[in-house]
């Protein structure tokens, strides 16, 4: 038996021995132990080093609020830092290590930081990392050098870099009543609501349901409270309208009564069961919520209050009663309220000696005096602890007479020999979720605490959460809230019998004992009472600024134990009452949440992939694929040994010499149909579509409402009331939404239907001098000669038995045709076209060659229609109809949109015959040492086989006026400088003789 383990008692399984290591030392514990309770039972008092000063720290609490005992858990290569030892259930093989110490926990070189306490005071980071603005180190790198080491020394655990192999899950849950917290209030609420037939979810962050009933030592319904819990839990477990979620932290309260919770499913197991995730993220939509989240005990602030061996009173009671561990043998209590007396008695009953109870109040009640007597403790009323002694463990303390009204100390300090000091500074209801849900907390002067705000969403509070700290009240409020939450039509079952215990819930308004030495407010961030006062002296009066400047309450515990003492000290410095200083609004998460659980199964490359009907053919025929948005498209069809450039140059060249074919199935396609379809298109496009003849296509441009260019494409008139609109691949969804918005919201009177048919059609563009001959060789049912199929004409026919629709239009600048067929026949038609093209030297080409030919032709794409360019900037003003209003027409002529200095589309030719880079700036005079004076930038570039030059499209100030002049590319990032000639964007065949053939 370990030195501090009691012989009997506790909710642990003494027959089960569990082996684990902490900092490489092997220990044993029992089933039901946390890492904290097991180490404590083994006599370990030192759990970590503090954040800034590297002071030795032990356990302050027994629960989720623990600020000191943070450890890193190692699982194989994976390390998870900053977990409170109080929240880790031990299992065989658990490996945990302490943090923020170098080289070891017991001997830490950085503990010397304590000696230089002043330099690490409030605002230290802000003051230091600004760097000196005067003096010899001004502007030097010295401060950045220092920062590196200071940041390394001050910190918490370090994260690992290994990939996390664990699995995470996300669940959606719906219930009538969600009960958060399973103490007496929560259990009663769940039971009462379940009795009403409601679907109930009961969540508690602890593995053992029951909350304080597991350690209070009280009697409920004639049995020990812990037995009543087990009976009640068993009843709930048997019901199929109740879901119990132990180890589940409800961490977020969002609108519409949506709550987020984290279930730690298998952290407590050596191996997860088959298929079991590590964590499960719950999104719970609750009809109503019962908040029975209890309260946190507050520490008192006095010199040396952070020494290992100083612990919250209820935590010690919990270690003794729930885990069978005594945190010390000779115990002193220091309190400003009645609740600690009960803790003293519990420890006495568990076998510890209670040396003294130090109470700041001059006259504790007769009942409390009697309890002190029962505990065998000397009662030092009107006294305060002013110092603690010891190193890695507490060895003694000093008390002095204390006047709680004036705050003054008097008389000689008396030393008391002790190994455990239990402190209680009153209780703060755990109102985090209520605060997240909406309104501001209200200060209660009696409780010296913020109580939950009036509900702004559908929740009801019960128990200590509401400031009702007694179990009797918890049971009654739990039952009432469960009934109300469930709709409250029936009558609740009789309440379990419970005998009231004496005690005043109101503490004395004492938060700090001012004496010489460091008194900690925020243990985890090493913020002292003096830091708070310093911040006030330096002018920080708002509680929000105070938090940021001192970092009070900003550690992983989010100030669960430090917020109220910090606020009280700030209020005193300001000379204002606490409620006037205000509290900060709590935000999610209530406790740290694993990122893995938020991602759940949605990690890695989970984007959907869009594949064209001919995708497999491309792969089988040597295509290198390229992702364009969600689509996959052939980049090149490389021959063996070819570089990408060699491949696209060959493809483009062959297309211009004989013929090429490219998959254009990704273009957005929208069927625009109905009696008003033509009128609608006239409003949507800048140019006219109502005049378009059936069987013809037209290139169209759309603007946004603000007058900037939006998208372009061809629209085909298939019938009087039937148009097929094509959009750019990237904008297909946006254009669809744009059309739907105008039809639904702006012009509901128009009789038009729009339907996305992108996936219904497979498309191939075949272009080049031989393209018409190839089509003639394989198309039946129609002629494809110039008379039947003129430029922008549409015909219907068949290829290899499949109906096709052919439109003669050109993106490449060659005589070209787009052939559309039903998506299911895409590969069949494609293969027929490729086969028919063989005698004519047809090549398949990819996006690179497509891009090259469009740059040679000076056509625009999304790189130029970038949301900042107008039709005029792109030399598309010929498409702006003057005969009709259209979307954007009213806004496109604004002053700034027609200014002379706007960037306009031009072509560039590299005069040094070297490749150009997209994004490179254009300058008039190159200055490599001090790049400046940009007059524009490159949007797209390539090597042009048609011109035999490196060319680019660019947006340049002045645009056309600069044609024929010289400029330079200036690309310091890629160290590319060099002369270019500014030319028209129409590099190749500007008259269009080739496509008109």
């Amino acid at each position: 038996m370990s030195p501090r383990r009691t012989d009997t008692g506790g909710r642990i399984d003494r027959l089960k021995t569990i082996r684990f290591t902490f900092d490489g030392v092997a220990y044993t514990g029992h089933g039901g132990d946390t890492l904290a309770s097991a180490l404590l039972a083994n006599g370990v008092t030192l759990f970590g080093r503090s954040f800034k000063y590297h002071r030795p720290r032990g356990l302050l609490s027994a629960g989720v609020e623990e600020p000191n005992a943070l450890v890193t858990v190692l699982k194989g290569e994976v390390r998870e830092p900053n977990i409170p030892a109080t929240m880790i259930e031990i299992h065989d093989g658990l490996v945990a290590v302490s943090q923020n110490r170098f080289p070891s926990l017991a001997w830490d070189v950085n503990a010397v930081n304590q000696l230089g306490g002043k330099i690490l005071s409030a605002g230290f980071y802000y003051k230091t990392f600004m760097g000196p603005v005067i003096g010899p180190l001004k502007g030097t790198r010295f401060w950045m050098f220092c920062e590196h080491f200071i940041r390394r020394a001050a910190g918490l655990g370090s994260a690992g870099s290994a990939k996390d192999p664990a699995r995470y899950e996300r669940m959606n849950a719906f219930c009538d009543v969600l009960v958060v917290g399973s103490g007496p209030a929560g259990l009663m609420a769940a039971k009462t609501a379940a009795d009403q037939g409601a679907r109930v979810v009961l969540a508690d962050l602890e593995p053992r349901l029951g909350g304080s009933a597991n350690w209070s030592g009280e009697t409920i319904d004639g049995a020990p409270a812990a037995d009543w819990v087990r009976r009640t839990v068993a009843q709930l477990e048997a019901r199929d309208n109740v879901r119990l979620l132990p180890r589940t932290t409800v961490w977020g309260y969002y609108d519409s009564n949506t709550l987020a919770a984290l279930e730690r499913v298998s952290d407590h197991k050596a191996q997860p069961a088959k298929g079991e995730p590590r964590h499960r993220y719950w999104a719970i939509r609750a009809g109503s919520v019962v908040l029975a989240t209890g309260a946190f005990e507050r520490p008192l602030v006095f010199p040396g209050n952070d020494r290992p061996g100083v612990m919250l009173a209820h935590a010690a009671q919990r270690y003794a009663n729930e885990f069978g561990v005594l945190p010390g043998q000779r115990v002193v209590l220091f309190t400003n309220n009645d609740s600690a007396y009960r803790s003293a008695l519990a420890l006495k009953q568990a076998g510890a000696a209670i040396v003294a109870i130090v109470d700041v109040r001059p006259q504790p009640s007769a009942e409390m005096s009697a309890l002190a007597g029962e505990a065998g403790a000397e009662l030092l009323s009107g006294h305060a602890v002013v110092a603690t002694e010891g190193g890695k463990a507490l060895s003694g303390l000093k008390v002095q007479r204390f006047d709680m009204v004036a705050g003054g100390l008097s008389g000689d300090a008396r030393s008391i020999h002790t190994d455990c000091l239990l402190i209680s500074g009153g209780w703060s209801p755990t109102i985090h979720l209520a605060s997240q849900a909406g309104a501001k907390a209200e200060w209660n002067a009696g409780r010296q605490a913020f109580l939950p705000p009036k509900p702004t969403q559908k929740w009801i509070g019960a128990g200590a959460f509401t400031g009702s700290f007694s179990t009797l009240e918890a049971i009654a409020e739990g039952s009432a809230s469960g009934l109300a939450a469930a709709g409250g039509t029936g009558t609740p079952a009789a309440l379990p019998a419970f005998e009231a215990v004496p005690g005043d819930p109101d503490p004395a308004p004492v938060f700090e004992i001012r004496a010489k030495g460091k008194s900690f407010v925020d243990f985890q961030h090493d913020v002292t009472a003096e830091d708070v006062r310093l911040a006030h002296r330096e002018g920080f009066v708002s509680v929000e600024h105070l938090k940021r400047y001192t970092t009070l309450g900003m550690a992983t515990d989010q100030g669960k134990s430090s917020n109220i003492p910090g606020l009280a000290i700030m209020a005193e410095a300001l000379g204002k009452p606490i409620p006037d200083v205000g509290t900060t609004r709590f935000r999610p998460p209530f406790a740290p949440v694993s990122i893995g659980s938020l991602a759940a199964e949605r990690f890695g490359d989970l984007k959907p992939e869009r594949l064209t009907p001919m995708h497999d053919w491309h792969l089988a025929n040597g295509a290198t694929m390229y992702s364009a948005g969600l689509w996959y498209r052939p980049m090149i069809y490389g021959l063996s040994g070819e570089t990408v450039e060699q491949a696209y140059v060959r493809e483009a060249k062959a297309t211009r010499e004989s013929a090429g074919i490219v998959d254009v199935s990704t273009l957005g396609k929208i069927a625009v149909q109905g009696p008003d379809a033509a009128a609608f298109l006239d409003r949507v496009y800048t140019n006219m579509f109502s005049t378009l003849a059936v069987g013809k296509a037209r290139y169209g441009l759309m603007l946004r409402e603000d007058g900037f260019a939006f998208d372009d494409g061809t629209t085909w008139r298939l019938g009087e009331q039937d148009f097929l609109m094509t959009t750019t691949t990237a904008n297909a969804g946006k254009v669809m939404q744009h059309l739907e918005y105008f039809l639904d919201v702006i012009w509901p009177d128009l009789k038009v239907h729009v339907t996305s048919v992108t996936d219904e059609w497979a498309g191939a563009a075949i272009g080049g001098p031989k393209a018409r001959q190839i089509l003639a060789a394989c198309v039946t049912g129609t002629h494809v000669d110039n008379a039947t199929l003129p430029f922008m004409g549409i015909v219907h026919g068949e290829i290899s038995g499949v109906p096709v629709m052919i439109c003669r239009l050109s993106f490449s600048g060659e005589m070209a045709f787009e052939v559309y067929c039903g998506a299911g026949h895409g590969t069949h038609v494609w293969e027929a076209l490729v086969e028919a093209g063989k005698p004519f030297g047809l090549v398949t080409y990819g996006l690179e060659a497509l891009g090259t030919m469009r740059i040679e032709k000076g056509h625009v794409t999304g790189a130029e229609i970038d949301g900042r360019t107008t039709a005029r900037d792109l030399h598309l003003d010929w498409m702006l109809s003057k005969k009709k209003p259209f979307i954007g027409s009213a806004m496109m002529d604004r002053e700034g949109l027609v200014a002379a200095e706007r960037l306009e589309l031009v072509g560039l030719i590299a005069l040094d015959n070297r490749p150009l880079n997209g994004g490179a700036h254009i300058v008039e005079e190159v200055d490599e040492a001090n790049p400046h004076g940009s007059i524009g930038h490159i949007t797209a570039c390539c090597y042009s086989p048609a011109l035999g030059r490196h060319i680019a499209l660019a947006l340049v100030k002045g645009g056309k006026a600069r044609h024929g002049t010289r400029a330079h590319v200036s690309d310091p990032l890629r160290n590319r400088f060099g002369p270019v000639e500014i030319v028209s964007n129409h590099f190749y065949d500007p008259e269009g003789t080739r496509m008109h053939g």
């Binding site: 949506t258 909406g438 409402e705 639904d744 009213a890």
Partner: protein, 98 residues
């Protein structure tokens, strides 16, 4: 946040696309009133409280809905089709709802 689409029923907000302030009034297409156009394109109310908004059920029936949403609490007090002739669906799931 849940939006109760009059056609599809209560759905999670991820199914919807916010389509802007529902108070905007588009001038007549041929209007030359530049102030009115400017107000339509750029001016927004941004109230702290009830806000008349347009949402598209883009992950569902794709209808545009006029949603009265409280910007402080996300509470939704009314949802209706923007298009008048959809106001009471002749058929569909909304009728199945109690």
């Amino acid at each position: 946040m849940l939006i109760t689409c009059p056609y599809c029923g209560p759905r999670d907000v991820i199914e919807f696309t916010y389509q802007g302030d529902g108070n905007r009034e588009r001038p007549e297409p041929a209007s030359q009133n530049f102030e009115a156009w400017n107000a339509y394109v750029y001016d927004r109310l941004n109230p702290a409280g009830d806000h008349n908004e347009i949402w598209q059920h883009s992950g569902g029936c794709r209808a545009h809905l006029r949603v009265m949403r409280n910007t402080l609490t996300h509470e939704i007090s009314s949802v209706a089709f923007v298009r008048g002739d959809h106001a009471s669906p002749a058929r569909g799931r909304a009728e199945d709802k109690p």
